[in-house]
């Protein structure tokens, strides 16, 4: 277990290093610097500004100090939001994005697993067919389309919920549903497939033969093993939800990290782009690590590998 853990941590550090390097050099070869946008600055001022942000130093030195900064969670000052640190901006916006992501993931799990169980249990009935059709539809729906329809009816037509922003709980319903639709459908499909397999296995037959109640057979015996593939899905799902947030934040005007990322790219605010990318990457690899650990806890068979 310890070796496994150490090896995973090593992969995480390597991944983040590669990500940092890619981001740094990609943004340096992009044509057009951050300070030659609308009106050209006089050369002296421009030189001063570039000196302030360290843009006049040799590339490798910038790269070095950038890496050193990252290791201390310091991404430097933002180019566009004068006087603000990237770290500050991220600390301001990250909780919002996390909140949205956690709500959606929660919704996806409490919707997806029961639907999957139900349709596996009622395999080849109309319950199964209609819920699986809905699940494929849920996977195929572009989230901005879901968002647009929800806003149109619930906010504009029926006036039940606010169309945008992120303040009280009423603001959080529509974004959560919009982001949760696709993960819920994926979880439902996977739960169904996994449960169908374990429901036919020997240990379930044994449990039935012992006279265990039907509910207990499904929930305690069959479902526990079917959850393993679902848990492995949570890694890619975390990735989907993380990047999904930036479409949702755009639609609902939520002041989260994704919205800042979009603005930062258009503004060529390099430090902010790099900071957000690094945080996204960090959360992604951490999510994958947690999934690996959860995997080892749920299924003792994978522990020794």
């Amino acid at each position: 277990m310890l070796v496994f853990f150490v090896r995973k941590c090593f992969t995480i550090i390597a991944t983040l290093f590669v990500l940092a390097t890619i981001t740094f050099f990609l943004l340096r070869v992009v044509p057009g610097g951050p300070f030659d946008s609308d009106k050209a600055l006089p050369p002296d001022i421009k030189a001063n500004v570039e000196a302030k942000f360290g843009l006049n130093k040799p590339l490798w030195e910038q790269y070095g100090s950038y890496l050193w900064g990252i290791s201390r969670f310091d991404f430097g000052p933002s180019f566009k939001y004068m006087g603000r640190n990237v770290t500050e901006i991220i600390l301001d916006t990250l909780p919002t994005s996390m909140e949205l992501g956690v709500y959606s993931l929660f919704l996806a799990v409490i919707l997806g697993i029961p639907i999957g169980v139900l349709s596996a249990y009622k395999q080849n009935t109309w319950v199964d067919f209609s819920s699986m059709f809905l699940a494929v539809a849920g996977i195929s729906l572009p989230s901005y389309f879901v968002g647009a329809i929800l806003i149109y009816f619930f906010a504009l037509h029926w006036n039940l919920l606010p169309p945008a922003l992120w303040e009280e709980w009423v603001h959080k319903i529509l974004p959560t549903i919009t982001l949760g639709t696709r993960p819920a459908s994926l979880i439902a499909r996977l739960t169904r497939a996994a449960l169908l397999e374990s429901i036919r296995s020997d240990y379930v037959r044994t449990a039935r033969a012992k006279g265990v109640s039907e509910f207990k057979v499904v929930v305690k015996h069959a479902l526990r093993n079917s959850l393993i593939p679902v848990v492995t899905l949570l890694g890619p799902l975390a990735a989907f939800i993380l990047t999904g947030t930036f479409v949702i934040e755009y639609i609902f005007a939520i002041p989260g990290m994704g919205k800042y990322f979009i603005d930062a790219v258009t503004n060529r605010d390099y430090p902010l782009v790099m900071g957000v990318t690094m945080i996204f990457g960090f959360m992604l690899v951490t999510a994958n690590l947690l999934v690996d650990i959860a995997y080892a806890i749920i299924d003792p068979r994978v522990r020794i590998r």
Binding site: T11, I12, A14, T15, V18, L19, I22, T23, L26, L27, V29, V30, V136, A137, I139, S140, L141, P142, S143, Y144, F145, A148, I149, Y152, L156, L186, R189, L190, A193, A194, E197, P229, L233, A239, L242, T243, F246, V247, Y250, I251, F261, I262, V265, T266, V273, V276, T277, F280, G281, L284, V285, N288
Partner: protein, 279 residues
């Protein structure tokens, strides 16, 4: 093998219907100049923002352009970005994955470690960054999506090649003294075609979706190119009063992705029966 698969897929009605829909959409996109009564850039200020009617089936946008024609031409971009990106990713994935799987040993573990690292990157963000460098046209988005898309394919191909390598017919080929290259291309790859085709079918809608997300938030294609995502982006700005502007691009995209997913499910059952666990 393919005859049997065809028999199986013929019974799967949803995938036949989906295939028909996709075929019709593709033909319409190819024949767009013949079908569209208006060109996608033709502006007509007097007819701006008309709700769907007999002349303009899907209505017109704020510049008086016919939405139906724009969706028709948008299909060309959306479908070809999806298709070519998926094919490109698959091509790289096959080369990378079969080298890793066939050579094995240290080469394999090195290549797979690299793939693991690339796989853990936030792909949509990396796509955005790459597009800043290679440009925001169809070619740029194709390269950027392809660069992050091949890793999954490589892992799939590697797994399959590893399995096939142990088969008797491969051992027979090797004992006859065939060159590794020939064994790989003549004996192994044809046998893993099933899973590969299935993953291609799922890869296309993923790329169409990714492109439309990027274009929707304004980080994807730039004018004059119009994909379904950029149309949705334009529609988004005025949709409170003119909901049809986002409804039609959205529904067309939805039907396309839905059809690809049903087709993929059907193909998987027919070509790759063991993998029903993968979703």
């Amino acid at each position: 093998m393919f005859l049997e698969s065809w028999k199986r897929i013929k019974k799967h009605k949803p995938s036949l219907v989906s295939f028909a829909i996709l075929l019709i959409f593709t033909l319409m996109a190819v024949a767009a100049p013949l079908i569209a009564q208006f060109s996608y850039f033709e502006q007509n200020a007097e007819h701006a923002l008309q709700f769907p009617n007999q002349t303009y089936w899907f209505g017109t946008d704020s510049l008086g352009r016919d939405l139906f024609s724009r969706i028709l031409y948008g299909a060309r971009i959306s479908l070809s970005v999806g298709f070519f990106t998926a094919v490109f990713s698959l091509f790289i994935g096959i080369i990378y994955g079969s080298i890793a799987g066939y050579v094995g040993g240290r080469v394999d573990s090195f290549l797979m470690r690299v793939a693991d690292i690339l796989n853990a990157l936030p792909s949509l963000l990396v796509t955005v960054l790459l597009m800043l460098v290679v440009g925001r046209g169809p070619l740029g988005i194709f390269l950027a999506l392809g660069f992050v898309g091949w890793v999954g394919e490589a892992r799939l191909v590697r797994g399959q090649v590893l399995q096939m390598k142990e088969m008797l017919f491969v051992e027979a080929a090797r004992s006859l003294g065939l060159k590794p290259f020939r064994i790989l291309f003549q004996h192994i790859l044809p046998n893993i075609l099933g899973p590969v085709i299935v993953s291609l079918t799922f890869g296309i809608p993923q790329n169409i979706m990714a492109e439309s997300f990027l274009s929707f938030v304004g980080l994807g294609l730039e004018p004059p190119y119009a994909s379904w995502g950029t149309l949705a982006n334009e529609g988004w700005r005025a949709y409170r009063t003119y909901p049809y502007l986002i409804f039609f691009p959205g529904i067309v995209l939805f039907i396309t992705i839905l059809a690809f997913n049903f087709l993929g499910d059907g193909l998987r059952d027919a070509l790759d029966p063991q993998s029903s666990k993968r979703v």
